[in-house]
């Protein structure tokens, strides 16, 4: 099952440049939360602070508190330990190109020393089913490489790979921006189903996508969280004029 996320007084920096300013947010478990805002507003930086990817950039640092369930992200938790609980899917699908479909999904488990073939088979099956890809690839699990799939299939393969380690939270950074509307529809349908078991945070430039898939939406601007509310409220009657100007296309 998914867990909630609590962020308190989060500040993020790239060397001396501050990218996030005092972010406070509570993400509800087993819901989809969308983050919107113009390019450079800090939404991707924010999502990367949730699984300690931000600090992989030289001179980048984070201040503040992030709790994934009861796990404190910046208080002694190792990145490996954290990322077992927090999966991530990126803008561009990035399957391991030389690995088979099966091995792509099983990679995370194998890396953690998981070797039982029967159990691996089961996890790969379940993960591909959860990612709505099983029916399309079940006959070529070992024959085809991850890179031989279409863009939409590759993205769902990456989702299956993330799900295989049984995370509680799934972070998605513009997962559909390189996909056609049919593939986008499949991923959105998937998000809808996955939130029954996972907590999903999705960064998207597509506001209609945020409106379609997320129960909650946060609007970022210039590194600050301007407004966070139920998605319906953000798209019908936001409280802050800057949010309204953004969702109505008056800037951004």
């Amino acid at each position: 099952m998914g867990v909630g996320i609590t962020v308190e007084h989060l500040n993020a920096f790239y060397a001396k440049t501050q990218a996030l300013f005092d972010i406070n947010i509570t993400v509800q478990a087993n819901h989809a939360t969308a983050l919107i805002g113009p390019s450079g507003c800090g939404k991707s930086t924010f999502i990367r602070c949730l699984n300690r990817m931000h600090e992989t950039i030289p001179e980048a640092r984070v201040e503040g508190k992030v709790l994934i369930g009861d796990l404190s992200v910046y208080n002694g938790t190792s990145a490996t330990q954290l990322r077992r609980r927090v999966g991530m899917v990126f803008q561009k699908a990035n399957p391991f190109p030389t690995m088979s479909i099966y091995d792509n999904v099983a990679a995370g488990l194998k890396l953690n020393g998981f070797r039982n073939r029967k159990q691996l088979d089961e996890v790969v099956h379940k993960s591909l089913q959860a990612a709505a890809l099983w029916d399309e690839v079940k006959d070529s699990l070992h024959k085809k490489s991850g890179a031989s799939l279409s863009g939409g299939q590759q993205q769902r393969l990456c989702i299956a790979r993330a799900l295989a380690v049984q995370p509680e939270v799934l972070l998605m950074d513009e997962p559909c921006s390189a996909l056609d509307p049919i593939s986008t529809g499949k991923i959105e349908e998937l998000i809808f189903q996955l939130k029954e078991q996972y907590t999903i945070v999705i960064v998207t430039h597509n506001m209609q996508q945020a409106a379609r898939v997320a129960e909650f939406t946060g609007f970022f601007l210039l590194g600050k969280m301007i407004e966070f509310d139920k998605t319906e409220k953000i798209f019908t009657n936001p409280s802050d004029k800057r949010t309204e100007d953004y969702v109505t296309g008056r800037f951004g």
Partner: protein, 231 residues
């Protein structure tokens, strides 16, 4: 800035205002026709109904196109929903003006009768409601719209009083029953126009504040909002 979208919204707004002008003119002409027993004005109301109907279709089509192609949100979405509803109300205002004109045409064929009802006063109040409802739309001001809602009670009372005195008159002087009945129907038509002006005002409040005040829900229950963005 979505320039084309903003232009489409502005075109929609202007089109609705032109339609509002037609509906307002139709009511004023019908009321003047009643006061002056003027057949020409009645015919003008009937002839111009087709213009209002055509405008209704055109506005709905424009709104439909914007919804389909621009996916408006927040204040823009509320604006378009409000426009489509105001559009339907204005078309009904036009219909009521036609009903009044038809009653007047009926009355003109009958001998003039002294009726104890001040239809012109009621018409003045109703015209003011329509005008102010449209002004609240032009200005995007919820307080103007709120004032219209309060006027509705006054018109309702006028209609009730008209009914009482006209029914009494029919009992006392059965020979002018037809004229009294026509006046009574005109009073009812005017009250309906006031109801449409009320609906229009409620839609303006919804657009501006995001608050649903229909059926006596309070505008104050809506969260405070920043100044409205121009459509």
């Amino acid at each position: 800035m979505r320039t084309r979208f903003q232009q489409q919204m502005e075109d929609l707004r202007e089109k609705l205002l032109r339609m509002g002008g037609l509906a307002e003119l139709a009511v004023d002409r019908a009321c003047q026709a009643y006061t002056e027993r003027d057949l020409t004005r009645c015919q003008l109301v009937l002839e111009n109904e087709s213009l209002i109907n055509a405008a209704e279709r055109e506005i709905d089509e424009m709104a439909f196109d914007i919804l389909a192609t621009q996916q408006p949100a927040a204040v823009d979405l509320r604006f378009i929903l409000a426009v489509t509803k105001i559009n339907a109300d204005l078309e009904r205002v036009g219909d009521q003006a036609v009903n009044i004109a038809e009653r007047v045409m009926d009355m003109i064929e009958l001998p003039a009768a002294e009726l104890p009802v001040d239809i012109p006063r009621m018409a003045t109040a109703v015209s003011a409601m329509v005008r102010r409802a449209l002004e609240s739309f032009v200005e995007g001001k919820a307080e103007l719209a709120q004032a219209v809602l309060e006027m509705d009670h006054v018109v309702d009372r006028m209609r009730d009083e008209s009914f009482i005195v006209l029914v009494r008159k029919m009992n006392e002087e059965p020979q002018i029953t037809q004229q009294a009945l026509d006046a009574l129907l005109v009073a009812r038509n005017l009250e309906r126009v006031a109801d449409h002006a009320t609906n229009i005002s409620e839609d303006v409040i919804f657009w501006v504040l995001g608050a649903d005040v229909r059926h006596h829900a309070q505008a104050a229950s809506a969260s405070p909002r920043p100044e409205r963005s121009e459509p």
